[in-house]
């Protein structure tokens, strides 16, 4: 009996240092941001005055907030399916290529993973430059219309989705590829002997069996889309004419360093929304897989 308690204590002591640091770097700030959201915060003076929901009311009265909320939702609704469809397609293709060739292709498709999103934004800003960039030079060669990409309010948000696709595709592809390669080969072989077509096999075998990975990627990409910042900050900085001002850009450019209370209110709001979305995705869409 005594040893049992000893092992309990040992286990707890192994977790304790991480847990203490976790409290300092995560839990305490998390609670603080909920408190700050209801306060008028003055960082210089170190004072806080409770003002209830005033920060939220102020936030909701700003046009920029609603505008950037719309932009963020638009960004998430379009970029998440785009990234996931490409992930799924590439992972399914890569799973079919066997041996050394498959290995090389997987490694190559994975290369953008090491690039920072900040660098990605800058590189694509160059590639999509309306006059000097590679893509418009190519379009020019074929006498096709040349969009202004990141420089026009009409196309800028779509262009940032393209950057996001480039930088995010490797992550999801790898996770889905891991799931697909985990499917027992006999399942596909048996189905193919029964004359089930490739597309049918994909829909009826692959998709249901990688459900856990799909939901994981979906949740992570949704969170990622809602906090989109780096690649947009370095490519458009939120412009032109505010057309790519996502919530995080709004937070940093307009609220941070001017009103910490309102900034906290915005992050608290985002936290709650993301929590609900993740919870819904995990409970409604997730299936237990057994094969």
């Amino acid at each position: 009996m005594k040893t049992k308690y000893k092992y309990m204590l040992t286990g707890f002591l192994f977790v304790l240092p991480s847990f203490l640091y976790y409290i300092f770097v995560f839990l305490y700030p998390l609670i603080l941001s909920f408190i700050n959201a209801t306060c008028k915060v003055n960082l210089m003076m170190g004072t806080k005055t409770f003002i209830g929901m005033q920060n939220f009311r102020n936030l909701f009265s700003r046009d920029y907030f609603w505008q950037s909320l719309t932009i963020t939702i638009q960004f998430a609704l379009m970029s998440v399916p785009l990234v996931m469809m490409v992930d799924l397609f590439v992972a399914d293709c890569l799973a079919k290529v066997k041996g050394k060739k498959g290995n090389i292709l997987t490694t190559l498709s994975f290369l953008p993973f090491i690039v920072s999103m900040a660098a990605a934004g800058m590189v694509w800003d160059w590639l999509l430059d309306p006059n000097l960039g590679l893509y418009n030079s190519l379009l020019n060669l074929f006498h096709l219309p040349q969009p202004l990409w990141l420089r026009s309010p009409a196309t800028a948000l779509y262009s940032t989705m393209l950057i996001t696709l480039w930088i995010r595709a490797p992550f999801g592809t790898m996770i889905l590829l891991g799931g697909i390669q985990n499917i027992p080969e006999q399942l596909n072989e048996a189905a193919s002997l029964d004359g089930v077509s490739g597309l049918q096999r994909f829909l009826k075998i692959t998709l249901p069996l990688i459900n856990p990975q799909l939901i994981m990627v979906l949740t992570l990409e949704t969170i990622f889309a809602f906090k989109a910042f780096d690649q947009i900050f370095t490519s458009t900085g939120g412009g032109p004419a505010g057309s790519t001002r996502t919530l995080m850009i709004y937070l940093i450019k307009d609220l941070f360093n001017t009103d910490y209370g309102m900034a906290s209110a915005l992050t608290v709001l985002l936290l709650i929304v993301l929590f609900i979305i993740s919870l819904l995705q995990q409970t409604l869409l997730k299936r237990k897989v057994d094969y």
């Binding site: 991480s18 700050n36 993973f113 590189v123 694509w124 160059w126 990622f224 995080m248």
Partner: protein, 288 residues
Amino acid sequence: MNKRTTIGQTVSRLLLLTFFIFTLVPFIMVFFTSFKTTMEINNMPYRTLWHRIIPDDFTNFQNIRSVFNGSASQLNGVPFYTFIINSLIVTFVSLFPSLILAATSAYGFAKFNFPGKNVIFYMFLGLVMVPMEMISIPLFMTVSKLNLINTYVGIMIPSFISAFGTFLLKESIEPLSDSYIEAGRIDGAGEFQIFRKLIMPMLSGPLVTLIVIKCTWCWNDFFWPLLVVSEESMKTVTLGLSKFSNDLFKEYGQLNAAVLLSLLPLLIVFIISHRQIKVGLMGAGVKG
């Protein structure tokens, strides 16, 4: 039936090829553009497409040199290697505490039972799901109260812990047989000794995976350094890079040279260890 499959296959081959061109072209263009003069980039005199892609002179190191030694106008005399050194320090110094914290907590979660273990574990799960950006404002206020703005410690504070590492290592420790631990105890080894001498050596594979992924994330972090660093000499690589993105008339040659320089260290790491990153991410999905 047969014909349809071939059409389908051709289409999917073409789409896959498009994807690979889309993925790899930026790398090629960064490399090429780093060697181009401003005249070349501005297409003066008018050039054919081929000459707009390939630089005239691969020995033109003007861009790379001016970025590296800080004579590029956007850098205001701060050489780019300052940022690289800062990032190297931040990445390497934060690596060790985060590995130790991840490994000890993973061992505690995987092989012991104590009241509240599951609660603490689910709290850690929150650390993976909740983006760091959402709590960065109060964390920034704490850091500024501690006078750690513009210091290495301030930049490293969120990177000392790795919840992803805890999960990755927990998954690797769980399948290890308890009999190793029992044997260690019978031989009279202390609990920490068992962890260090018996468990740690068996984790070399996942530890390498964790090191590589952690280095990549730490090196590429932009949001947190942006908040806590304002002094030029303390900026990390990503912040140094972003100086080239602010101008209306961009010096694309220098911009690409800076991207190339920021990419090289990770590219070397990637070439050595791409297998480990793949294994880690594929496994993370299957287990999670």
